[in-house]
Structures are given as C-alpha cells and as structure tokens.
C-alpha cells in the first residue's frame, strides 16, 4: 500500500467517514498440534538459523507391530547409553505451505566412517538453505532436484515457533528419553514394567 495521499479539498467530508473495519485483523491464532519427523518427501527449504539444526542423538524404533518408524530423542542424561541410538543433526525444514518438519540427518559416531546416504542428505539440506529442493535417491546416495522458479517464494520462517517448542510438539511427552524409566528404554533393555502401588503378589 502506498502512503496516504493528500485528500482533495472537495472530498474532505468523505474522507472523514472512513472507518477501520478490522476485517483482515487476526482474531484467531493458529496452533500447530503435530509436526512430522523424518525426511521430507516433497520440495522443502531448510531453516537458515543454526539454532534450528542442533546436534542431537536419536533412536529410530522400527517395531514389528507398528507400521513406519517412531523417533525418540535421547535426553542429555541418557546420551551414549543406548547403542541403537545415533548422533544426528535435527534439521527444521518447511514445505511451501509453511508447515514445519523435523528431519534427523544421521551422522557417524566418533569411531565410524561417514556414509554416502548421510553425507549426501546433509548436502541436500544445505542446498535447501537457498532454494526449493527435493530429495531423490539415486544409486547409493541422495541427489537434489531443484523446483521451477515459480514453485514458491522464500518461506516466511519468522512465523515459526521456537525450535524447543517445535521439538516438544513433534516428539510429544513420551518422545524424549530422559531416564531409564522411559518405556522404550525398558523395552530395549528387557526391563520389567514398573508401576507404583502394584499389589500383584507375583511381582
């Protein structure tokens, strides 16, 4: 919108009648209640703020009885305690509708070699900082596919919640393994279900 132009002298009485209707004002706030975790399937852009791609440790549960994968973040006190968990970079990406997604890109442990899948995924995520890209698996690594110029404009990252809030929503109350009481930890190590006030005489 341009700056308000001077009102012509014969229209001053009309101009005085102008009222702000508030039609476009935001009367509601949008709350995101679920954020997917995993690699993006569609074109995406990577959040440019380094705070939105911290290093983390993650365990990917591929249960026999559940379709798909479940991701569990390892809390600081539990890092290094679960062999199946891997170090990763937890990258925040968005699609063209502005919907966020957390993408754990695996990294080698200190005694491991990097592999092509991980390093190529990181390269595509890096490319996503500047343009709309899509992950394409080719041979033994990922390559990027760049979207047409008109696919979407640069995302408005300013509207996203803080990274901590995104993590809380994405992983939920039980998605972070803080201690040995976590059901996944107990499941992994074959520990017995603990429950306070259990009066089962066999236990």
């Amino acid at each position: 919108m341009t700056d308000a132009a001077p009102v012509p002298p014969d229209a001053g009485d009309i101009a005085k009648l102008w009222i702000d209707t508030g039609l476009g004002d935001a009367l509601t706030t949008e709350h995101v209640h679920s954020i997917p975790i995993g690699k993006p399937r569609d074109f995406f852009r990577t959040h440019p703020d380094p705070a939105y791609r911290p290093r983390a440790e993650i365990y990917v549960q591929k249960s026999e009885n559940v379709i798909g994968e479940q991701f569990f973040l390892i809390g600081p006190a539990m890092r290094g305690r679960i062999d199946e968990a891997r170090p990763c970079i937890l990258v925040c990406v968005v699609d063209r509708t502005g919907a966020p997604r957390l993408w754990p890109i695996m990294q080698p442990r200190h005694d491991e070699k990097d592999n092509a899948a991980w390093s190529s995924a990181r390269a595509v995520a890096r490319e996503g900082l500047g343009r709309w890209v899509k992950l394409v698996w080719k041979g033994r690594a990922y390559i990027s596919r760049v979207a047409d110029q008109g696919y979407a404009p640069d995302p408005d990252f300013g509207k996203l919640q803080s990274f901590n809030d995104l993590v809380k929503i994405a992983f939920g109350d039980h998605g972070i393994i803080h201690n040995e009481d976590h059901p996944i930890f107990r499941d992994l190590f074959g520990k017995v279900e603990q429950s306070e006030g259990n009066d089962d005489p066999l236990l």
Binding site: M1, T2, D3, A4, A5, V7, P8, D10, A11, I14, A15, L17, W18, I19, D20, T21, G22, L23, G24, D25, A26, L27, T28, R96, T97, G98, D148, Q149, G150, Y151, A152, P153, D156
Partner: protein, 595 residues
Amino acid sequence: MIHCSDWRDLPYREIWAVDTEYYPGLGLANGGREGDPITPLALVAFELRSSRVLRLWQDELGPFPPYRLDADALIIAYMATAEFGFHLAMGWGQPARTIDAYIEFRHLTNDARIKAGDRPNGFYSLAGALRHFGEDEIDLARKDEMRDRIMQGPPFTNQERADILRYCEDDARALARLIPRLVPTIPSLPHALYRGQYAWALSHEERCGSPIDLAGLDRIRAGWDAIKADLVTTIDREYDCYEIVDGVPHFRDEQFLAYTRRQHIPWPTYADGRLDKRAETFRDMSRTFPQVANLHELRSTLAQLRSNKLAVGRDGRNRTLLGPFGTKTGRNAPSNSKFIFGPAKCLRFLIMPPPGMALIHRDFSQQEVRIAAVKSGDGALLAACEAGDVYLGIAQQLGFPESRPGLRTLFKTVVLGIQYGLGHRSLASRAGISLYEAAEILARLRARFRTFEEWCTNTADYAGLRMTMSTAFGWTVQCPPGTSARTIRNWPIQSDGAAILHAASILAERRGIRIVAPIHDAFLAEGPAADIADISVALDRLMRDASSLVLCGYELPTSDDGGPIMPNQRYYEERGENMWNTINRLIENLERKTA
C-alpha cells in the same frame, strides 16, 4: 458513529417524509415514452415533529422547494433517486441532509445468504418494509392503479387530482410510519447521510441517461419479429442448439448438451444433472471457451429484445432507475431489460453521442484484483498488478512460460477465481486443464500470495465470529451461520469496488462531470466534443481520487480503452460486434425485400 435509538433524537429541527409523483415526458397517453425526462405532477411532504402536511399539485410547485434544504432539516424518501429526479426536474437544489429509507431498509436486511432476487416479490418496496416491521401495509392494488393512471399523464380531472394527492399523501404517511421503526436500526447516521448523498449523485446520472441512436433502435424494434428466426438460424449454425417452431426459436437442452460434447466442453451441471444455463455461467464459460461467446450473446439479445423494455425517451436517452445499493455488496442493480448496459452487448452499439457532443468510457484497470492486493497488503500480488498485465504477471510469478498457448485466458480464469476461492475441480473444469495442474496452480498461488490468503482467512474468521462484515464506508452485510465461504471471501473486494464507485459518483457531481451511465467498474461520461480530452483527464482524476479515499491513498489506474467516442461514432463492444453486424445485415436484407 452517531446512532439514534429514537427518531425524536435526530439532530434536526425538521424531519420531512417526502413522496412525489411524476410521469414520463408528456405522459404515455400523449406520446411520451418510458425513458423520457420526468414531468413533476405532485408532491406531499409530512413533517414528523409538527405533523404539518404539504400537498402540492403541478401548478402549485414553484422555483423553490416547499421545505427547508439546509442542514437543520432532514429529508427522508423511499428510493430517494426518484424524489431527487423530481428536484432536478424542478431545478431545486440538493437537501443538505437526506436519508434514503429504501437503502437503509436494504442495509438492515442485507443478509449474505440471501440473493436479492430470492426475496418475496415486493419485499424491498415501502409496503414490504412496513410488513417487515409488522406495521399496517398500504393498499397495493390501488397503488398500481394510481401509478398506471399517473404514467398516462394529463389531462387529470378534479377527482383524479384529489385521488392522486391522497394516494401520494398515503405514501408519505406510510413512510412517516416507517421512520420510527427504521431510524433505530441505522448503525451510523453520518454513513446513512453519505448514502443519501450518493442517491443525489446517482439521480443526476439517471436524469442524464445514455444517448442512444433512437432511429437505429426503432429500426431494430420494427424488424425484430421478422429477423428473429433468421438471426437465430445464422448464429446457431455453428451450435445447432435451437429449433424454430412456427417462426419462434426454442433453445433445446439436449442439442446444447450434444454441442458441448462435440466441443469437449465440460459444461457445469446441477446436482440433478441438469445443465446450468444461467447467464453468469455462460459468461464465465465464454472466457475459457470463446467459441461459446456468440451463443451467450444470442441468448442475451433474444432475452433483452423479447421484453422490449429498453427505456429510451423521445430525446434518445436511455433513462431508468439505477437501483442504488441494490446488491449485497452495495453495487447498483439497474433493470437488465431497461438499461442499455444490460446483458446484450450488441445493443451497446446503439450508444452514440448527440451532435457536437462526445462520450468517454473509462474503467478501473483490474479493479478487483488490485483491491484484493491493496486491502490484504500483499506486496507480491500488487507487484504482479503493477507489472502491466496482471494475468501474465501472475503466470510469470508462478513460473509459467509466456509462450504457452492460452496462458492469458487460463490465468484470467485463475485470477478471477482466487477472489472467491475457486477450487481445483472447478478450475480444471472451467479452464480445461487436468486436476493435477489445477491443484498445482492453486498451490503455487497460495504459496506466492500467502499474505492475501492469510487476509482471506482472517476475514473468514472475522465474519464467522462477528457474524457481520463492513466496508470502510459503513455498508455492512450479516453473515449468519450457513453463509457461503465464497461470499465471505469475495464480498470485501466487491463491496470496496462499489464504495469506490459511490465516492466517484459523488465527486463527479461535485466537479460537474456529466456521467451518463455507471457500469460496474466504469463510467460513461459526456461533454462537448471539443472538451472531451479534458473531461477524460478530469474523469481519470476523480476516479483515482475516489479509489484513494477507499483504499487509504492507493490510486487505482483507469483506462479509456478505445479513446473518446466522437460525434457520428458508435460505442464499441468487441463481445457484441458479431451480433450487431449480423442484426444489421438482416435488417438491411429485410428492408430491401420490403422496399
């Protein structure tokens, strides 16, 4: 905002309920025709505070109105453009304060779910308004009888004179009964007075009327019955949708369905499978499938000439009530059959300036999409508008190559569609593209113009929570549960377009620009041929000023497509050219045969 919960609190010394009677020209019985300038016959005014009544017959009317016109007096009329037409015919001035009770009643009952045409007959009449408030109604049978008699014109017997004055007084008193009910419902008095000012400006436009080639019109009317069947046969050759029975053309649905199938046109249908043959559907489909345009024009022309109601006076002026605030958005709603800018485009070729005069047609360029961009503050959408051709500008922003055939037509459908939330299925159907491509275009649009989309969401939230929407000049619409999401999305844009036309009409009247017709987002103005270039510039200025008033300083650009219409030239309308030429050719053949 000033609101009065009781009419007695209105800040005026005198409050006059006014009703007038008039007939066209010399009266229909004396060779006058509908469309002639009106001849004042009678006036009755009822002052609400003192119960004083003024009853004046034709010969008692003087050079000054019988009531005060200053800011201490409020004039209330029902459809005030009629009473103002009476003022203008008498050479009386503009009342400083006017409320048009008709407009305020429309405002009160402006419901986004209900089309004006779906209301019961007479809902918006004075009797309908009284009925709405549970007041005793007026005698409608007598009203029709009296109106018919008045239209016939003089001579009037003494008894008729007494009856007409009594009838006029009944209306004035009925209006006086309505006022105490209506005033408390007016949310803002200054805005109601502003609408009254618009009625004054519009009455000037009604009085001017568009200049028409009367001889040409009479020629078409005289030959119409003889050429109708030939016209249909000629135009229908490529469609084969009509059957001529006893010289009368009948549109056959099954033949039209076969045509759409032959042409692979996915024509919209109702849920029960019937073809949607509404004029607006034909108009929309003609944009995407230009081959349908001639059929659409044929149907419009047949409808308009069948009714033969085009109101053209003996002086060759098309004059009709322009229906201020006749739609939900506040746009005018003139009679389709009486107004030269009705659906039949070919009849516009009849518009010709009188000797020594010229016309200028100036419209807002891409008014609606620019309003959408400015209101929502979407810089990307505004940039696309400013790029020149908004349709190609948006296509370019979405990455579609300019070389693609039919790109502009496709994006015209897209851009018009985003204003009311066109879905991907409808877009695919209207544009003849795949569902996938339609969905992709809309996804790109939503991503590219996300500020506009967000604004639309906020507007929908507002309408849903407050159950009302308003323009910056106080015209509101109720949005009860059940209101269509499309209406809510489109209303703010259309109603601002209407508000711009209102302000422009008022400015035109103040600046002495002679507007002869308001046309949706355009004006037709008239002036001496030698001055028409200056008038065109002045018209552009006032239209920009009006848009600036509504859009907080943003001036909508205007254009005068073909330049002025000089003496002996005709108004040109591309969409009606083929039909106009065909009609003329058939009339010439007919005249040659009869000669």
